[in-house]
């Protein structure tokens, strides 16, 4: 199948790649752009490991075609820290031991950031429902929820 030329902005950088129309945005990020921080856990939109922001909207990148990213802006886990400074969510995940294997972590961080951008003061229940599409098999979610709540509190204080 002939390939399509795709032009996007990924984490602030202009990026071009050639995509087979069957390839997902997840495939393109990982295989063509070289950003492997976004993970594939299922490929069917059920695990959230592939979460990215596409033009500011949280999406499962396994459910978006690479060619759909043409002209759009993509933010991935690799763009979450500003230089050396981790995003408070990233820092709190380490401090709270909110990851074990860490495979779900990039997707959960991207999803949690999308929540806090919208709702800086979520209840525990809101965090649990927001992250219900992000599977973690290791932690039982307890420390993840605590880390998100704590990061939210810190962000509110800073605001």
């Amino acid at each position: 199948m002939s390939k399509h030329h795709v032009t996007t902005t990924v984490n602030g950088d202009a990026v071009e790649f050639l995509a087979d129309p069957r390839e997902t945005l997840l495939d393109c990020l990982r295989d063509h752009v070289g950003l492997t921080g976004t993970k594939e856990g299922c490929g069917t939109g059920d695990c959230g490991a592939c979460s990215v922001e596409l033009d500011g909207t949280l999406v499962c990148s396994c459910l978006v075609l690479g060619v759909e990213a043409n002209g759009k802006t993509v933010n991935t886990i690799e763009g979450m820290a500003s230089g050396d400074a981790l995003h408070p969510l990233q820092r709190k995940f380490i401090e709270h031991a909110a990851l074990q294997c860490g495979f779900c972590t990039p997707g959960i961080l991207v999803a949690a950031k999308a929540l806090l951008d919208k709702n800086p003061d979520p209840t525990e229940e809101e965090v649990r429902y927001w992250l219900a599409g992000n599977l973690c098999r290791c932690t039982g979610y307890d420390k993840i929820i605590r880390a998100v709540m704590d990061a939210a509190a810190e962000l509110r204080e800073a605001a």
């Binding site: 199948m1 087979d20 069957r22 495939d27 990982r30 950003l35 492997t36 921080g37 976004t38 993970k39 594939e40 856990g41 299922c42 490929g43 069917t44 939109g45 059920d46 695990c47 490991a49 991935t76 886990i77 690799e78 979450m80 820290a81 981790l86 990233q90 820092r91 995940f93 380490i94 401090e95 709270h96 031991a97 990851l99 074990q100 294997c101 860490g102 495979f103 779900c104 972590t105 990039p106 229940e125 965090v127 649990r128 429902y129 992250l131 219900a132 599409g133 992000n134 599977l135 973690c136 098999r137 290791c138 932690t139 039982g140 979610y141 307890d142 420390k143 993840i144 929820i145 605590r146």
Partner: protein, 748 residues
């Protein structure tokens, strides 16, 4: 209660520093199985059987081979013949021979210049099957008219005349069972069933394999055990183990399911055929569910005798388990663990390992123990209710203690079951009042823990920092706990130690990270390695001071004269000694390898409160408490994490998770949408209490904490549902439909 104050004896052990791999994992930099690539790499795809049981009449790969960009196709014909025993099982599971034995069984594999092309090529392979009758359920598989999966698969343990799908048989026990049951006030017997579940790690299996015509190769793979991968790949492909070098990636969860091989040998076989170009294979989720992992399923009869005061007088278990189309269901482990929390003078165990047309089972967290506990702990609870006894008190009354003979034979060393049960009794969750449709369940769980072949090296850098090489992949923070122990032992900062998980060329054989052994076994070996380096550093200091090495001791990160008679010298720090090691005799390092002795078993007990919706039968977890003996929590956050993660996997097993097969023997739910694992909104916080009864067999008292936690949820939730609804469910999972039906059945 936890033995408070233990942690204060240590500078670092028991603290909660950031894990060394944390930064890489929150920034997306950590490299997992599928993140690795090589120049010239090809991509592999696997053709899998759509049938549960069929004869392969013909495989035609010509169209696939003719496709532009296809570089290699392999079938079983590319594998050596004449393997036996488990090697044959592994080979047969890697790629079907004369028959396919389950839905998802690999039949052929392709390597091509892109993944899309490889997938296209796989679709062009034509296979002619003769479909055979199949059997899925364990009880059906031992019926006289059941399809025979493999003639002659039974080992010598199976008595004459047993159904052909029984491949292993066991019976063991002690005491006078009849007298024991006669002495009881209440004797009850019931049958319990558990369904197969999957470990459900979020990272699918992935590897890059490379092998030339000289039979030398390399592999990069997500695995719990690089030496197991090496050994098994080489056995299946007829290679020499030392010629294959296996490097483990970061691992996205394993839970036992990544201790064996699946498609890894295929990447090597394809690479060899493709002139040594590396081949990457990444499984899809449905391949993971159809062809890797799952647990055994069980059908279990339990009979128990109890006195009015709760004393157990006798117990008998007869467990039947299928572990797929190959021997290896953990029926022995289930039997060993089932009655382990109880002091019993008369006990009998009988076990059947049965074949069925399902994927080859792999280890899953405390393999066998959750099933055994579901049967035994459920029946104990039922009898407590019948006799009006408190389930915690009954467990306390019959609890095994140090020196007791276990139900399965060996005498227990130091164990902490009584301390665990005391902590349960004292916990505030037990005082929470229950409302309508709510219930509380309690259950115990057990795991032996494990040592295993272990080889560890450490060395001191010229700046006085320390590197430790271990062979046990870090799945849940073990690099942090190993760093803590080595830094504690050396008297240096935590940050000065770097623990690396190394490839097979760097150390002697290591068993995988399994059986809750990494912090125990690699930890013990790391400390013993460090002792060698300490001895050498003391010798170097003694040389410089011109005193006897025996007169030097190590304290606070420095060599020091051991008492006033040794002479007066200022402490010589690790940095000082390391800085001049080039002139004082060369590198300073330590190495230790053994099967570390002194494994300490771990008991736990869980308390769960549920609410059952009387309309829908949906069970909601209101509160959850895990209490478990860690021996010593080196990094308490990751101990809690193991407890919480194990409990939630158990909750999934109890309430939702199961392999669902259609009439045609095909797996009906091979995606996460239908194989539903617990999500954040299903759960409350998981409360934990870390009990610390130190294991005398480990320098810091470590037992191992990973396994036990998955065991108690199955029976505890069943008992809580019983209290909430009056209905006892003896067949997992306890889905809303089943709970509603059970409630309805008792109404009528």
């Amino acid at each position: 209660m936890a033995k408070d104050g233990l942690n204060t004896e240590f500078r670092l052990v028991g603290t909660r520093p950031n894990r060394p791999d944390g930064l890489d994992k929150v920034t997306g930099r950590a490299r997992y199985g599928a993140d690795f690539s090589l120049p010239g790499m090809l991509h592999g795809a696997v053709l899998r059987s759509p049938h549960a049981h069929a004869k392969i009449l013909k495989i035609d790969t010509s169209k696939a081979e003719a496709l532009d960009g296809v570089k290699a196709v392999v079938t079983r014909a590319d594998f050596p013949e004449g393997l036996e025993g488990e090697d044959w099982n592994l080979q047969e599971n890697t790629m079907a021979g004369d028959k396919v034995l389950y839905d998802g069984h690999a039949v052929a594999a392709v390597a091509a210049t892109s993944k899309l092309l490889a997938e296209e090529a796989v679709r062009l392979i034509e296979v002619e099957y003769e479909v055979l009758p199949h059997v899925i359920d364990v009880d059906d598989a031992i019926k006289p008219d059941a399809p025979v999966i493999r003639e002659g698969a039974s080992d010598a343990s199976v008595p004459e005349g047993m159904p052909p799908n029984v491949v292993r048989y066991m019976e063991f026990g002690r005491g006078d069972l009849e007298a024991g049951f006669a002495a009881a006030d209440l004797v009850r017997e019931n049958t319990y069933k558990t369904e197969a579940t999957h470990q459900g790690y979020i990272e699918p299996h992935a590897c890059v394999g490379q092998m030339g015509s000289d039979a030398k190769g390399e592999m990069w793979v997500c695995t719990q055990g690089q030496w197991f991968i090496r050994k098994m790949c080489c056995a299946v492909l007829g290679l020499e183990a030392s010629q294959l070098r296996v490097t483990p990636s970061e691992i996205g969860g394993g839970f036992g399911g990544k201790t064996t091989i699946f498609m890894e040998p295929l990447s090597l076989a394809l690479s060899r055929k493709a002139n040594g170009r590396p081949v990457k294979i990444v499984m899809s989720r449905s391949e993971v569910l159809r062809a890797t992992g799952p647990t055994a399923s069980g059908s279990m009869d339990v009979k128990i005798g109890m006195k009015k005061d709760g004393t157990l007088t006798a117990a008998r278990a007869e467990f039947r388990m299928q572990g797929g189309a190959f021997p290896g269901a953990p029926v022995d482990m289930a039997l060993y663990c089932g009655f382990a929390p109880y002091k019993l003078d008369a006990v009998e165990h009988v076990g059947y390992d049965v074949l069925a047309n399902r994927p080859k089972c792999a280890a899953y967290r405390a393999p066998g123990s959750p099933m055994g506990a579901f049967a035994v702990e459920s029946l104990i609870d039922e009898m407590c209710r019948e006799l009006g006894l408190d389930p915690v008190e009954v467990r306390m009354k019959n609890a095994v203690r140090e020196g007791d003979q276990s139900s399965y034979g060996p005498k227990f060393g130091s164990i902490g079951l009584v301390e665990v049960l005391e902590a349960v009794k004292g916990h505030s969750n037990l005082a929470e009042p229950l409302g309508p449709n709510q219930g509380r369940g309690v259950a115990s769980g057990y795991w032996f823990n494990h040592n295993g072949e272990t080889s560890v090296s450490m060395s001191i850098a010229a700046d006085g920092t320390v590197q430790v090489s271990v062979g046990t992949p870090d799945i849940g923070g073990s690099r942090a706990s190993l760093s803590l122990m080595v830094a504690e032992h050396l008297g240096i900062p935590y940050e000065d130690v770097r623990v690396n998980v190394v490839e097979t060329g760097s150390l002697g054989e290591n068993e995988p990270t399994h059986g809750s052994r990494a912090t125990f076994a690699s930890g013990k070996a790391a400390i013993l390695s460090t002792d060698q380096a300490i001895k050498e550093m003391c010798r170097r200091a003694a040389n410089e001071w011109g005193i006897d090495p025996e007169a030097v001791e190590w304290a606070d990160g420095a060599a020091q004269p051991a008492g006033p008679n040794a002479g007066k010298f200022p402490p010589m720090s690790i940095k000082e000694i390391a800085g001049k090691m080039g002139e004082t005799g060369g590198p300073i390092s330590g190495h230790h390898e053994s099967l570390p002795e002194g494994v300490g078993a771990s008991f736990g007990a869980h308390v769960v409160d549920v609410e059952v919706d009387p309309e829908t039968g949906l069970t909601k977890i209101l509160r959850y408490l895990v209490v478990q003996d860690a021996g010593r929590a080196i990094h308490p956050s990751y101990v809690e994490g193991q407890y919480q993660g194990g409990a939630v996997q158990g909750i999934g097993w109890a309430l939702n998770e199961e392999y669902i097969y259609g009439e045609d023997g095909r797996l009906q739910n091979p995606i996460f949408l239908d194989y539903r694992i617990p999500v954040a909104s299903d759960l409350p916080m998981i409360d934990t209490v870390i009990v610390e009864v130190p294991n005398p067999g480990h320098p810091y008292g470590v037992r191992g904490v990973g396994e036990t936690g998955i065991t108690p949820p199955l029976p505890a939730i069943a008992s809580a549902i019983h209290q909430a609804t009056g209905a006892r469910l003896r067949h997992l999972p306890m889905t809303p439909q089943k709970v509603r039906a059970a409630m309805k059945a008792q109404d009528s």
